[in-house]
């Protein structure tokens, strides 16, 4: 029987691992395909305190990982298929067999949403992308579109102007959700153009197997427009990775895990941290902070059980 199992290895999961490792609880971190979380898909992170010149997202995650391992956290690749609770025993079923634990910290994060258009999936890897840092390189000197109006959309748009001849930002409203500093940067960038009040109807051309244009409709005028682009980057928000916990843990209407008194979920011994329970802040530093809270909450829970 383990003391603590942590599912997820982004900033929340690895901070929880660091704290529980330092509390001598020998945590096991199960990391999935997207090991390291969303920061693995970013470039410079300039808002993580302590790195005054910024740090690359993947480097930050490598540091967090090494720091947790330094205190004895065990990190294992695996796919979790089920979580069940019987009395005070939590069973985590993985592709390598079941693991029993007294406490569980959920840090499974959130995954980028797609538009849900029929051609979108077919053109993934051939012009449709959710990762500017992975795929921007392929659009050197070419026009592309970014869909979305939040911080991630603007960050991608700004980053992509390093490669693209022009970036058209398509947004459903006439104002941006993004932070002021990101907006200023985007408005000042001569390569970024805005298509306001517009929704995406289609991405062409599935028959050719590559992206050739994006079709939009202006929600105020009803006018449809075909914009020739070689790439479409989708940055319209995230869905929490909570399908594993349906029926076990309480969620809000959008599927985010509900927490109370810090990081406690609706099941004793099960704690949640990071983007899987936070649709408001969604920052590396808030994820890390909530990972610390979950670790301390799990530690207290284990102490109580022991008494």
């Amino acid at each position: 029987m383990r003391n603590v199992v942590i599912i997820g290895s982004g900033p929340a999961g690895l901070t929880a691992a660091l704290y529980t490792a330092r509390a001598n609880l020998s945590p096991l971190v199960i990391e999935g395909l997207d090991a390291g979380g969303q920061l693995m898909l970013t470039t410079e992170v300039d808002n993580f305190p302590g790195f005054r010149d910024g740090i690359m997202g993947p480097d930050l995650m490598a540091n967090m990982r090494a720091q947790a391992e330094r205190f004895g956290a065990e990190i294992k690749q695996g796919r979790v298929s089920a979580v069940t609770v019987t009395g005070s025993t939590i069973t985590v079923t993985t592709d390598q067999g079941p693991i029993e634990t007294t406490s569980l910290i959920i840090a499974t994060g959130a995954t980028a949403k797609l538009l849900g258009l029929p051609n979108e999936r077919a053109l993934m890897g051939h012009g449709v992308s959710t990762c500017a840092t992975c795929d921007g390189f392929f659009f050197r000197g070419k026009p592309i579109a970014v869909v979305g109006g939040g911080d991630s959309a603007l960050e991608e748009a700004n980053f992509l102007t390093r490669f693209a001849s022009k970036v058209t930002l398509i947004h459903r409203r006439d104002t941006l959700r993004a932070s002021k500093i990101m907006q200023d940067k985007a408005f000042k960038n001569p390569k970024i153009e805005f298509e306001w009040d517009s929704e995406v109807l289609d991405v062409k051309d599935a028959a050719q197997g590559v992206v050739s244009a994006i079709v939009t409709r202006n929600l105020k005028t009803g006018v449809t427009k075909e914009i020739p682009v070689d790439g479409v980057f989708v940055a319209i928000g995230h869905t929490p990775n909570t399908s594993l916990f349906t029926g076990l843990l309480e969620t809000d209407a959008n599927g985010y895990l509900l927490t109370k008194d810090g990081s406690k979920t609706s099941v004793p011994g099960v704690f949640a941290c990071g983007d899987v329970q936070d649709h408001i802040y969604r920052q590396a530093i808030t994820a890390a902070g909530s990972g610390c809270m979950a670790a301390l909450d799990a530690e207290r829970y284990l102490e109580h059980l022991g008494q």
Binding site: D34, M40, P58, Q77, D135
Partner: protein
């Protein structure tokens, strides 16, 4: 870092080592700056070991080998393509687990 079972494909050896190969060839299109590509590395190494003798496995750096990259319309990485008899017969785009690659390879080995 990479297993010695994993070959390095380039614009210049692609024809001889991939298209004219007698066994099926799995090509991992990747780049140094791509986090998910690095995450995929160990999976590709494991596939190379598991299929040694049956499928040739190798990596192609998209930064250094733009001819092949453009020819196969790669606009997103990681992209893993399976070649058989000089043709691209199947592909997996984005991060996937070992089972997904095995499934693709087994389908074409039969």
């Amino acid at each position: 870092m990479a297993s010695d079972k994993v070959a390095t494909f380039t614009d210049s050896n692609f024809d001889a080592d991939v298209l004219k190969a007698t066994t099926p060839v799995l090509v991992d299109f990747w780049a140094e700056w791509c986090g998910p590509c690095r995450a995929l590395g160990p999976t590709i190494d494991a596939i190379a070991t598991d299929y040694a003798g049956k499928v040739r496995v190798g990596k192609l750096n998209v930064d250094e080998n733009q001819n092949v990259t453009v020819q196969y319309q790669v606009r997103g990485i990681p992209a893993v393509m399976l070649f058989k008899g000089g043709k691209m017969v199947d592909q997996v785009v984005g991060l996937a687990d070992k089972a997904a690659f095995k499934q693709m390879i087994d389908k074409h080995l039969a």
